[in-house]
Amino acid sequence: MSSPTPGQTTSMKPAATPTALQNRMGVLKSPESSKALHTIALLVRNAPGVLVRVSMVFSRRGYNIESLVVSPGAKTGFSRMTVTCSGDPAILEQMIKQLTKLVDVVHALDHTATDRFETEIALIKIRCAGDVRRDVLEIAEHFNARVVDYAAQSLILRVFGASDKLDAIISLLDEERIVELVRSGKIVMARALEVT
């Protein structure tokens, strides 16, 4: 790892190529096998085993789950799952039917193309001191990221927004300086009175 020269804005590197970015995030996506991401929202009964049953449908049909958010639903006893996944688009509709078929799944809806609001949160721990810290704070300010931990050798930034905004700030920060990255995974809600 090359250490940045003091006084130089070495952390302000050009945006990483998508391949490099995604590899760093642990997502297996070579350009040739790249598949569009789908967003599926499920309303499920909060019953034991429901997460296993849901994830088994994805794995059996060869879908890769990129992110998964499980949270309590509005009604007691029900949970929300938001799944971002990639796989063969030709079987997406059929896979959603297989999800719907599960006894504990109230509904499963594809929100890849619906009118929706989506958001995601990232926590980014950056090793930074001295001049580098100024650069980082400048980027943070631009993205409305908040510093939630200010330590001698590091910062933790919290940033939220659309997933591509998170991708953008991460790509602007020096890959070598990011110590840890935790993203919540995308959550979506259909606009107006449409069902999510």
């Binding site: 499920v44 009964r45 034991p48 085993g49 296993v52 049953r53 088994m56 059996r60 509709e93 059929q94 039917k97 297989q98 719907t100 078929k101 599960l102 006894v103 504990d104 799944v105 109230v106």
Partner: protein
């Protein structure tokens, strides 16, 4: 002084009371430590325990019971290896949509996940082969979970449901009340079918010149056979059925062309290949049926009736999909059908029927086809026939014509060897007044032959016809046709004398050696009602099932008799 309140029942007693409320007559089971409270509760119950000799046998008996009677079959086994021994049975029932309830004992709750003695993560192991399952950590959930289990197993597209029961839960008290109402917001069952979809299907059928009705197991489950016949007669359309669809619509009806698919009749497959409209009635376009999918029924309109909407578009994209119960949908559809001019089409089908009949060599020793042809003449569709898996299964499907719903029982989706004999015993429990014949091979029979004891103890008049060629015949056939006759892993040298084996269990046993013996021996077994009877048919070692569509070949690639030269290895699954 206050009268002392009676102690609440144990979880096991409550469970058994719930089963009694569901109308359970029999439990097929095998005991063990973690299930002891449940076996104890059975002592005082009206439910009869059928003690098997291996858990797999219990699962197949419950399956056969369910297929023959239409009622759910119940299995009770212990934890760990007891539970893992029923996984094959779960797969069998799951693939063929059979309602069975499996109760597994489990280690005490506090030991879960700690590798306790005979502990296995049974819900984890079985997720992929159940319709639904429960791990009951709280005795108060027993009545609700049991009610839900029966409802889920038997409604919609049926399937197995598993209840995993830790020993402390079945041993501890359970004062929860019985549950009647179902509250499953994620579970809906289509019933009648959308009227617009049905109208659209009727329009396509009415415009069709060469329609085919393709009948599957869904028609058996919904008892849609008579409606299928009405539709066929109204439309003047030929009927074909899948292996599991046998019996829904009378196979001896003049419009019936028999079974389609890999080893179906040539005329059924030729009709499917040439049709301009095919309607699946409770069938799922299985790979044994479509063979090479992208050449299947090219240009033909496809209508798909299924109670499970997740089948739509899985294999074949239908032009019209109707989600509903096959019988209820057909009842709506038939009045909208106009008699079509299909005389030329039916004539063509009959030309094929005459040109490519099912046939077999009458010389050269005892042949399976001959035995089964005569069994068909003897039973005339009035007996329940179960099969195992392999050549005998395909020949039985070809030669034993089914005329009655639920008279044909075979492991289709899973192709489970060892299924046929225990399934027949289960079917006999479900239908005590019917003649039940198991047709099995020497390979499959040996996988569950210990159930001879179960049949003998209960003096069930189940007949077991062992087709003994001392080979795993179907694999040998493939090796002969596709693998340059390089025989590998199919020679069952070391088979016992099955007559002596049966006699060792106190079971009557007969042998057929010559074609001339067939009718006499079959009749003697058929008329013997004092207990089980094994008939061993010592058939020729090498014979092949035809017609055959090599796996992955289009329907037009059907082989009607043994080819002269070698064939390329099949590209399809198996």
């Amino acid at each position: 002084m206050e009268p002392e309140l009676p102690a609440p029942p144990t979880g096991a007693q409550k469970l058994i009371q719930c089963l009694e409320r569901e109308g359970v007559e029999y439990i097929f089971g095998y005991s063990g430590g973690a299930a002891m409270p449940i076996f104890d509760a059975l002592v005082d119950s009206s439910i009869e325990l059928i003690l098997v000799r291996h858990e797999q046998g219990a699962a197949h008996m419950a399956d056969g019971y369910a297929r023959a009677s239409g009622k759910p079959g119940v299995v009770l086994v212990t934890s760990g290896p007891g539970a893992t021994n029923i996984v094959t049975g779960l797969l069998t029932s799951h693939m063929d949509s059979i309602p069975i309830i499996v109760l597994t004992g489990q280690t005490i709750s506090s030991m879960l996940g700690k590798d306790g003695f005979q502990e296995a993560d049974v819900t984890g192991i079985t997720y992929a082969v159940v319709k639904h399952s429960y791990l009951l950590k709280d005795g108060a959930d027993i009545p609700r979970a049991t009610r839900e289990a029966f409802y889920i197993a038997t409604s919609g597209r049926p399937g197995p449901v598993l209840l995993d029961l830790p020993k402390d839960v079945t041993q501890g008290p359970c004062d929860a009340p019985f549950v009647d109402d179902i509250d499953l917001p994620g579970y809906t069952v289509p019933t009648n079918g959308d009227p617009d979809d049905i109208r659209e299907a009727a329009a396509i059928l009415n415009a069709s010149k060469r329609p085919v009705l393709y009948v599957g197991h869904g028609a058996v489950i919904s008892n849609a056979g008579k409606a299928v016949i009405r539709l066929a007669e109204m439309l003047r359309a030929p009927i074909v059925n899948t292996l599991l669809g046998k019996g829904a619509a009378d196979e001896t009806h003049p419009l019936h062309l028999g079974m389609l698919g890999m080893h179906g009749t040539a005329y059924a497959n030729k009709a499917v290949d040439a049709c301009d409209c095919i309607m699946a009635i409770g069938a799922r376009w299985d790979d044994r049926i479509t063979s090479k999918l992208d050449e299947f029924c090219l240009g033909a309109a496809k209508i798909h009736i299924d109670i499970d909407p997740s089948e739509f578009g899985k294999m074949v994209q239908p032009d019209v999909a109707i989600a509903g119960d096959a019988r209820l949908v057909l009842d709506e559809l038939v009045p909208q059908i106009q008699p079509a001019d299909t005389e030329q089409w039916l004539r063509q089908c009959n030309v094929w029927r005459k040109k490519y009949p099912l046939k077999y060599a009458k010389q050269g020793g005892l042949r399976t086809q001959h035995v089964l042809d005569r069994l068909n003449a003897l039973t005339q569709g009035n007996a329940i026939i179960t099969t195992d898996v392999g050549q005998h299964q395909m020949w039985a499907a070809q030669f034993c014509l089914s005329t009655t719903n639920r008279h044909w029982i075979s492991s289709g989706g899973a192709g489970t060897m060892g299924f046929g004999f225990p399934a027949a015993i289960g079917a006999q429990f479900g239908c005590p007044d019917k003649k039940v014949w198991a047709i099995v091979g020497d390979g499959g029979f040996q996988m569950t032959q210990a159930e001879l004891a179960t049949a003998a103890i209960h003096k069930k008049p189940t007949k077991c016809l062992i087709i003994n060629n001392n080979f795993l015949g179907m694999v040998r056939q493939w090796q002969e046709l596709f693998y340059d006759n390089r025989i590998s892993g199919v020679d069952l040298v070391g088979n016992p004398d099955f007559v002596k084996l049966a006699q060792a269990y106190g079971v009557k046993a007969l042998r057929i050696r010559r074609p001339a013996d067939v009718d006499r021996v079959l009749a003697e077994a058929h008329d013997y009602d004092e207990g089980p009877c094994v008939v061993v048919a010592e058939v020729v070692k090498e014979d092949n099932v035809f017609p055959m569509i090599p796996s992955g070949a289009p329907l037009s690639g059907m082989i009607i008799e043994k080819p002269k030269g070698p064939l390329a290895k099949p590209s399809g699954s198996t």
